[in-house]
């Protein structure tokens, strides 16, 4: 039995250590240098960092190569800039919506559990609709991937749902700093926290902590997120 962190492949967070250790609190501001995913956040604000402190600048410079690579990757797969981020998010939401659709049809759940799953599925469908509309405004909409999920029994489905939601929340968090348009950032944040809500409840249902990362949620970058969802994509 793998633990959740192994399954989602998230790295230990610098921010978490900082909270536990007052001496390293200074690094709270330098988390951009701590993980590859946060590095994405750090360097994307370069053009706005006119009068940033020396600590911030240092971590920004340090991580700029990784960030550029990741930006290029995203651009080639999903589109440039905010469009790429929106299409990346849309791809994840397509998968989530399809998953819950399949779960509801599977007949594995009834009563309160079914109602909860239907509610989450409806949230995801609304995210899909909203992100499709936004992507359309910005350019080309990402194609909906064909997906297949293992639906063996209720427990493993709930575990997969929890994994997917924790990953989704981490994926949004991983992009927050890279979004240029404040309206799109605001919208992404309003989805991000809903994914966090889903993750918390599903974690609780499978007997895991509702705050598996502790007081500070960890981000995930595109590479690790796509690696996690790849097994479910058929085409």
């Amino acid at each position: 039995m793998t633990t959740k962190s192994e399954r989602t492949g998230r790295r230990p967070s610098a921010i978490e250590k900082i909270a536990a250790d007052p001496l390293s609190r200074r690094r709270f501001l330098a988390i951009g240098g701590g993980t590859a995913s946060a590095a994405l956040l750090a360097a994307c604000g370069d053009d706005e960092e006119s009068s940033g402190g020396s600590e911030t600048s240092a971590s920004t410079t340090e991580s700029s190569t990784t960030t550029q690579e990741m930006k290029d990757k995203m651009a080639s797969q999903f589109g440039e800039g905010d469009l790429g981020i929106v299409n990346y998010a849309l791809t994840l939401e397509y998968l989530e919506a399809a998953f819950y659709d399949d779960v509801v049809k599977s007949g594995l759940f009834k009563g309160d559990d079914l109602a909860l799953i239907e509610m989450i599925g409806m949230n995801e469908q609304e995210h899909v609709t909203a992100l499709e509309g936004t992507a359309k405004q910005l350019g080309d909409v990402a194609p909906e991937p064909k997906a297949k999920f293992p639906l063996d029994d209720a427990q493993s489905v709930l575990e997969l749902a929890a994994t997917v939601e924790n990953l989704g929340a981490a994926a949004y968090l991983g992009q927050a700093g890279a979004i240029e348009d404040p309206k799109i950032l605001a919208a992404a944040l309003s989805i991000h926290s809903v994914e966090g809500r889903h993750a918390a409840i599903l974690n609780q249902l499978i007997g895991e902590s509702f705050v598996p990362d502790g007081p500070f949620a960890k981000p995930a970058d595109m590479d690790e997120v796509l690696k996690q969802v790849q097994p479910f994509i058929v085409s």
């Binding site: 750090a42 309206k183 926290s193 809903v194 502790g214």
Partner: protein, 211 residues
């Protein structure tokens, strides 16, 4: 100033006016001053007029005030409210998270060269009378916390501070979901969490702040 309506069913209809941090804080402070008097928001107004990186510090102090409030709320609830073992466990986890948010925000403000606000005086009224009242009030605080961070985050200048705020708001959302569920309510009542501006948040928090 009016609340920005970000909890729209469709992203394209999100009514969000991009402001810089100064005007976000200033608008909130002016609106709050109209309601609570200038002395209550003096530091925020001064910060908003100042140039440079003061905007992020003001937003962090605003977040810190809310975290102080939450932290005190759970600490007192654990002492005063008779809780079932399940809810007690949840309250203990949340109390620890909020206390760590306080510590992290204080440290960040200091590191940015700012001065962290002090913990406000609090009065939670009858919130600790029983588990049900505690949960209802906890829901108010956690949903408010999510909306406050989501409303302020687009105004944050530093990507590092934004990353930290994002990291915290997800945890607040997780708390919100769990206290809602414990109270028999939907963990995510809307597909898009509402964002509130400072004025709306301070108005909602005001009844619990005595100084």
């Amino acid at each position: 100033m009016s609340t920005q309506k970000l909890a729209a069913p469709e992203l394209e209809s999100v009514d969000f006016e991009p402001m810089d941090r100064g005007s976000f804080v200033l608008k909130g402070a002016i609106a709050a001053a109209a309601v609570y008097g200038v002395s209550a928001v003096g530091p925020l107004v001064r910060g908003a007029f100042a140039q440079g990186s003061s905007g992020d510090i003001d937003i962090l102090n605003y977040a810190l005030t809310l975290e102080f409030l939450e932290s005190a709320f759970y600490e007192m609830a654990l002492k005063e409210t008779k809780l079932s073992s399940e809810v007690k466990g949840i309250a203990e986890t949340i109390a620890k998270d909020e206390a760590e948010h306080v510590t992290a925000l204080e440290g960040t403000i200091k590191d940015l060269g700012g001065k962290a606000v002090k913990a406000p005086g609090v009065d939670f009224g009858e919130a600790f009378a029983d588990e049900k009242t505690f949960l209802t009030t906890a829901i108010t605080f956690e949903d408010l916390g999510v909306s406050a961070y989501n409303g302020a985050a687009p105004m944050i200048k530093s990507v590092d501070v934004l990353a930290a705020a994002g990291s915290i708001v997800q945890v607040e959302a997780r708390h919100a979901a769990v206290v809602r569920f414990s109270n028999g309510e939907s963990p995510s009542p809307m597909a898009f969490d509402e964002a509130l501006d400072m004025d709306a948040v301070l108005k909602a928090a005001k009844p619990f702040i005595t100084s």
